[in-house]
C-alpha cells in the first residue's frame, strides 16, 4: 500500500519531459520532422522547450502552447548564457568559470572593428589595406535564405538524408 503510494507520487516526476534550450535566435519550429515542412514560428535564443520525442535529426518539442519539430543541433541541454557571445561556455580568462560581472552589451552594439583595435593597429604601423580588409570581412554577410538554399542543394543540416 505504502509502496504503491510512493510509486504514484514518483510517476508524474518520471513522466516529465526533458527540458532543452534553443541555442540561437530565429530557430525554426516546424510542423513536421522535415526542413521542408511548414514553419510554425521562430524561437529566440534561450527559449526552454520540452522534448516530447526524439528522431535522428529532429526533436519534437512543445513550447508556449505550440508543438513542433526542431533540428536537434539547434538545441542544447544546457541553458545558454543570456548575454550574447558566451555560447555554451562562459568566459574563462584567468580560469574562472563565472560569468563576467561586467558583461558586455547586446551583440547588436558590437559591430565593426573596435576603435581601440583600429588605433592600436595604426600606431603599430598596420597598413590601411589590412585595416580595411578586416572591415570588409566584418561587413560580408550571408543572408539566412541564401544559407538555407545552400543547405538544401547540398542536402546538408536539416535537409540531410
Amino acid at each position: 500500500m505504502i509502496l504503491s503510494g510512493v510509486v504514484m507520487l514518483l510517476l508524474p516526476h518520471l513522466a516529465t519531459a526533458e527540458t532543452w534550450y534553443v541555442k540561437k535566435s530565429s530557430t525554426k519550429l516546424q510542423a513536421e520532422a522535415s526542413a521542408r515542412s511548414k514553419v510554425l514560428g521562430k524561437l529566440q535564443k534561450g527559449t526552454p522547450v520540452k522534448v516530447e520525442k526524439k528522431s535522428r535529426k529532429f526533436f519534437q518539442v512543445s513550447t508556449g502552447g505550440k508543438t513542433g519539430w526542431i533540428f536537434r543541433f539547434k538545441l542544447s541541454k544546457k541553458a545558454p548564457a543570456q548575454k550574447q557571445g558566451d555560447g555554451d561556455m562562459l568566459g574563462t580568462l584567468g580560469g574562472s568559470q563565472k560569468m563576467a560581472a561586467r558583461e558586455s552589451a547586446s551583440g547588436s552594439s558590437i559591430r565593426g572593428l573596435s576603435p581601440v583595435s583600429e588605433e592600436h593597429a595604426r600606431k603599430k604601423g598596420a597598413t590601411p589595406e589590412s585595416i580595411q580588409a578586416v572591415k570588409d570581412m566584418e561587413n560580408f554577410k550571408v543572408r539566412s535564405e541564401e544559407l538555407d538554399r545552400f543547405l538544401q542543394t547540398g542536402k546538408l543540416g536539416e535537409y540531410s538524408q
Binding site: 541555442k23 540561437k24 535564443k45 543541433f73 539547434k74 542544447s76 544546457k78 545558454p80 548575454k83 550574447q84 557571445g85 558566451d86 555560447g87 555554451d88 561556455m89 562562459l90 568566459g91 574563462t92 580568462l93 584567468g94 580560469g95 574562472s96 568559470q97 563565472k98 560569468m99 563576467a100 560581472a101 561586467r102 558583461e103 558586455s104 552589451a105 558590437i110 572593428l113 573596435s114 581601440v116 583595435s117 583600429e118 592600436h120 593597429a121 598596420a126 597598413t127 589595406e129 589590412s130 585595416i131 580588409a133 578586416v134 570581412m137 566584418e138 560580408f140 550571408v142 544559407l147 545552400f150 543547405l151 547540398g154 542536402k155 546538408l156 543540416g157 535537409y159 540531410s160 538524408q161
Partner: protein
Amino acid sequence: MRKNNLKIFGVSFFCLSVLGLSLWVAPSHAFNLDRFLKDVEKSTQPQPKPKQEELDITVEEPKSPPPPEPQQSTGNDGMIGLGQSLGIFDKKTSKILKQSVNTLQALQPIAYKEEKAIGGRLAVEVFSRYGGAYNDPKLLHYINLVGQAVADVSTRPDIDYHFAILNTELPNAFATPGGYVFVSIGLLRMLENEAQLAGVLAHEVAHISQKHALQTLGRSRSLQGISALTLTAMDKNPGLFDKLIDEVSNVLFTKGLDKNLEFEADRYGREFAYRMGYYPGGLQNFIRKLGTSKAGGSSIFMSTHPSTGERYNRLKKTWSRYKKASLYPVLGKRFFSVFKKPGKS
C-alpha cells in the same frame, strides 16, 4: 462538545505547526559566522569545470596544464589586516578572507566586447603578415556559406563569425578570438572537396567556440595580477592592450597553442562538420595530405601545430564512433564548381 474539542484540537495543531516551522526556519535566517566562513572558504576553492555541451560522441576533456597559482597578495591586506590587528578577525578568518579577495582579483572573466577587440586587432595582424585579402567574391561567398553552416551547429552559434581568404600560396588557416576565421588560397588549392573545407573551417571555429586563445591568455604569467580587462581600462592604459596583443600574437603566430587544444579543435571540428551532414573524415584526410605535401612543410601549420601524423592518428582512434560515415556527402563536384584549380576548366 465534540465540535468544541475539534476546534481546540485544530487551534492547538495550528499553533504547534507555526511554532515548529518558526523554530526550523529561524536558524536559517540568523547570521552564522561559521557558515559564512565556510561559504567564503568554499568560494575560494577551484570550481569544477562546467560540462561542455554534450556532443553525440564522448569528447575527451583537454589535458592542458593547470593555470599557475594566483599571485600572493603583497601588502594589500587593507581592512582585513586591520581587522586582524584589532582582534576583530582571528588569524584563520583573516587568511580565508584574504584568499577570497585574492581569488576574486585574479579571476575576472573576459567579456565578448573585449574578446572581439582583441580578435579584431589580431585579424589586422593576420592580413598584414599573410599576404592580405585574396580577391574572389564568388569564392569568398562560398567560404562564408560553408563556414557559417558549421558555426551554426557549433557549441557557440550565437556570435557573428567572419571568414576571409588570405592571398598566400602557403597552406595556412587561423582563428582569432571573437569570430574571425582565415584560410589561405594555398590551403584551398590542396583541398579535394567541400567536406574537407568544412572540416578545416570547423577546426578554426572550434578554437573560437572553445575560447582556446583566451584560455591560453588566462594562463599567461606576464598577465598575472591584471584583473580588469575592460575596453575602458585598455583605452586608459595602452600598454595593457599592447601586452595582450603581444601575448596572443606570440601564441598564434609563433609558439602555437597547447597541443591538447589543437587535438580538441580537431575533435570538435570533425564533430561540427558531421552535425552539418558532411562526411566527417574530411579534416583527417586533409591533415594526412598536408603531412605528405611539400607546401605543407613550409606552412605555419606545421610549426605551430602538433605533427600531422599525431593529429591523424588521434582522429583515427575515435573514428569508429562515426557509424555509416561513408554515407555522408563530400560534395566534391560543388567544391570544384566554385573553386577552379589551375588547369581545371
